[in-house]
Symmetry: D2
Subunit: 324 residues, 4 copies
Amino acid sequence: MKKGFSLRTDLALETAECLAEGARGGIEVENEDFDDNIKVSTVKITDKQGKAQTGKAMGTYITLESPYMKENEVAKHEEIIRILSGKLSELLKIDRDSVILVVGLGNWNVTPDALGPKVVSRVLVTRHIASEVPEDIDENVRSVAAVSPGVMGITGIETGEIIMGIAEKIKPDAVIAIDALAARKASRINSTIQIADTGVCPGSGVGNRRMELSRKTLGVPVIAVGVPTVVDAATLVSDTLDTILEELIEQSTKSTALYQLLAGMTGDDKYDLICSILNPYENNLFVTPKEVDAVIDRLSGIIANALNIALHPGISKEDINKYM
Amino acid sequence: MKKGFSLRTDLALETAECLAEGARGGIEVENEDFDDNIKVSTVKITDKQGKAQTGKAMGTYITLESPYMKENEVAKHEEIIRILSGKLSELLKIDRDSVILVVGLGNWNVTPDALGPKVVSRVLVTRHIASEVPEDIDENVRSVAAVSPGVMGITGIETGEIIMGIAEKIKPDAVIAIDALAARKASRINSTIQIADTGVCPGSGVGNRRMELSRKTLGVPVIAVGVPTVVDAATLVSDTLDTILEELIEQSTKSTALYQLLAGMTGDDKYDLICSILNPYENNLFVTPKEVDAVIDRLSGIIANALNIALHPGISKEDINKYM
Amino acid sequence: MKKGFSLRTDLALETAECLAEGARGGIEVENEDFDDNIKVSTVKITDKQGKAQTGKAMGTYITLESPYMKENEVAKHEEIIRILSGKLSELLKIDRDSVILVVGLGNWNVTPDALGPKVVSRVLVTRHIASEVPEDIDENVRSVAAVSPGVMGITGIETGEIIMGIAEKIKPDAVIAIDALAARKASRINSTIQIADTGVCPGSGVGNRRMELSRKTLGVPVIAVGVPTVVDAATLVSDTLDTILEELIEQSTKSTALYQLLAGMTGDDKYDLICSILNPYENNLFVTPKEVDAVIDRLSGIIANALNIALHPGISKEDINKYM
Amino acid sequence: MKKGFSLRTDLALETAECLAEGARGGIEVENEDFDDNIKVSTVKITDKQGKAQTGKAMGTYITLESPYMKENEVAKHEEIIRILSGKLSELLKIDRDSVILVVGLGNWNVTPDALGPKVVSRVLVTRHIASEVPEDIDENVRSVAAVSPGVMGITGIETGEIIMGIAEKIKPDAVIAIDALAARKASRINSTIQIADTGVCPGSGVGNRRMELSRKTLGVPVIAVGVPTVVDAATLVSDTLDTILEELIEQSTKSTALYQLLAGMTGDDKYDLICSILNPYENNLFVTPKEVDAVIDRLSGIIANALNIALHPGISKEDINKYM
């Protein structure tokens, strides 16, 4: 059964999983298992065919999955931070004297969309002191700036315009954009971190941010870091329906009028039908766990720590605490 | 098709709607339509049969529904406040010198569960000044106290124990308990206010509060005021499934093996199946609109204003602003 | 007794008040009294002499003072909003199709410094919808964008650089910068609004923002709107000391050794002495009223409403509520 | 020069410091110096004379002072937590099966008064699970409950009444009350923790809480834990004035009319004079450092951790993280 791309997911891994074996041309998937229930998958979209199949930009998408991310498990978080900072360093090809701009996308006032601004508030920012303590900085820390521009509904300005304006002033060598994403499976909410060297694609995320942040628009590499914090309610219902119906269809031995009916129903038809049931909220209704505030705090701590280690390799966590 | 009561709703109106015509003994439903898309329904559960059918305590449940509640429509809010304060006055049989304790149930730190504490923060509290300006107070305002005790996971104490302890000290003539509820239909989220003279039943609400606040436990009338701020994700999926399957069943002319299968599946079976798909969140996954923070603010303003008018009939809204 | 300019005030009115009669060349002061304890003063610094005497840029500074600003007096606030929006319209020489950029300076996380970001969060932003509903917008509202860039300690970037970068992208016809200020007199905290056509001068405000936002740096008029939300503790102590000592000196008939000692002490000596007593906080210790959170909320509401009326003259307050 | 007790300090140590040598009957002071700039002083008020001299209840007051408390110095915080939990264990004479009620006094919405509620939000609460996992709990953790009742202006109820009501229900063996205090010296703000076995005295603290929480009112030991988070502005000005005038008086050789004037001025006269200068805020104007939000967070973490270790001696910090 063909699935329409109207089902929302921002995870390249989920998109790849949905494709039939034969449809995976131009897509490479590789898995690593770490101790302790931490899993890393790398999806590479290598050509136009892969791009067409997935609807995602060509590039490398690394996904860390662990149920511990959303729990208060400090020791496991240390391990996740270690792995994540290593993967970030691989994607970020920067020099010792590079200037990095970290961008927190999303809206402070909407809890599941506040991941980006929360990470930014914990990033060790050094660009403004770089000129004052040069010899000290040169050895230990990179020049890092960080902004949370807000969303277009609040500023009246496309986020991409704001970032381009700032980038033209401070001329970073790389941009890292943090954003909350939408996943397809409830089990991935707040337990997955995706990093990619493709920039942030238009139309992604919990909100609606339309202008791409990428090497094409900013002229420098853009690393995207995202966590799925919600599942679109219609997507969740639709997928649940598929799972159940598939089971029923099997049991009804494919001989009934029902099978005919279902076989003739596309993903888009189903999604529309479900949206009409979710009316009047439609695309604005999200599934989220109750403890989302505390979990977003934990996740932003994990990502900020991994960034601090990847960006300032010469200094220890204790040093970072002192500078903050 | 029999439906199990495991599907979560705290609205007596939704429970009544789910019952077959023949099963409505001991249940009276009455509707009023106001201008401007504001609807009031009164459900009376009058005897043990009604209680058994609905799983709700005997008493009167008044439901206001309006899509304007969640919008920034100040003029419509004034109208809703007027109707709500009138209905509150009907249920609250209190004297001029009664002492009222307003209780905000729920958890400040979980947005959809913060309705109660937010209302409490806007209630005009007067008990502490009642003795200082007696003649002034006697004529214009009642003696009102208000607490937000927090949830058991934070305090280690059953909320009922805290309220009983406080009630024994201040001896209120009536208690008004505000709580966030769960609805069954997405369309009712944040657009429905239920008030009832039955107290707050155990096991209700977004959280898990087990000890009843009612005339039985507190010795005085307990008015419950609630707003459904979430739909349990499993309930939403299950209901959507029912709607779609019923349609399919009709079309498949009830002759297939599928029908047999579905007919043999109880509500509980279905709910469990869906929960296993929503794993690992299960009962902790809620459907909520994206703009929930702003909407809960609006709703708490509406309820607090209606309470202030119902409790202090002699003073104007401007006066209330001055006292706050 | 000559006073050093090390005493911190951002109010041109306070600076003018401190000057001896003879030293007011190049400075014009004009007062208007409105009903109800609302006072408006206009200080014009007209030439280089005025600039030298005051340490302030040449231009017009309008100060509204009213004790009602910090109280919950809705009716008085309406009056203040009316006067303030009128004065803003006078300073803002803009056309119907001008694009305006509102900038909220200061730090969200430090209550007395959060005025700017709080105002921005309540400004009616329209630039992003201007192209979609042109005929509707043209008649009723101007194109307004708004940003809260954060402070340099958080971003690593001079606020002026961020605003210049954004301004180059969206090319506003005027910029309005909102900021929390420091006053000299405790009685002015949260009861004074200063607007000026001079831009925001370096080194002003509660924080330390060094790069000027002005016609010189941005190429368009910059209107500054500020409220003193704190008094520097050392300034307060120093001024109190002066008041008391002056009285004592008079009584001691200027004949003592004490007089000699005091006469030989400059403002800077005294300020340094006091700072050493306030050690280890020194310049970081501020005097602020206890209820500062609620008061900043009220003040940001007053300023945002006045801006909304001044910027969108064709639409009513009810319309604004709908758009927000 | 006699000093009036109208000058506000809640620290027994500061009161003792102000007394002349000869006036210290009934007061014992003992100092311990720890490494790393951490100082512990113990003041014992042993009889009625000591009580009269200090205006403080008889009992033991232990004060920890360290400039590191307000800094982001994780390693020093570990040391402070270790010392503080030891001192708490000395004062708290409880058994393994004791029930402890932790009370967070103060107002969530006023940053310098939010210490108590913030500590409560981080205390490991176990009373509600004690009955479910008895054998596990018995060995490792005590039964702890925790409430933040709010302030009288918000509840309309004396905080003491609320705590008495709750205590009658849950029958704790000891109560620990956390509160923000006022200090006299700016240098002590946020760098001092006082613990006492005397309960919380009426009229203390940043707010106005009138009913005593003590063995007398609650029937069980009440340990008070407090941090000075503000200095009353009038007290600060008055003390600064004293310091400067004393120096001037010395130099003016006590022969002038000024000396006569000052000698005749009591502490109360001076305080009133200063309050009139601080008008219209008077007693409501506090001196507080700019970074107060972050510092209160750090202090509440230190106190909550020390409480968790003192109350649950059998479990590690990692375990505490898991339970939270």
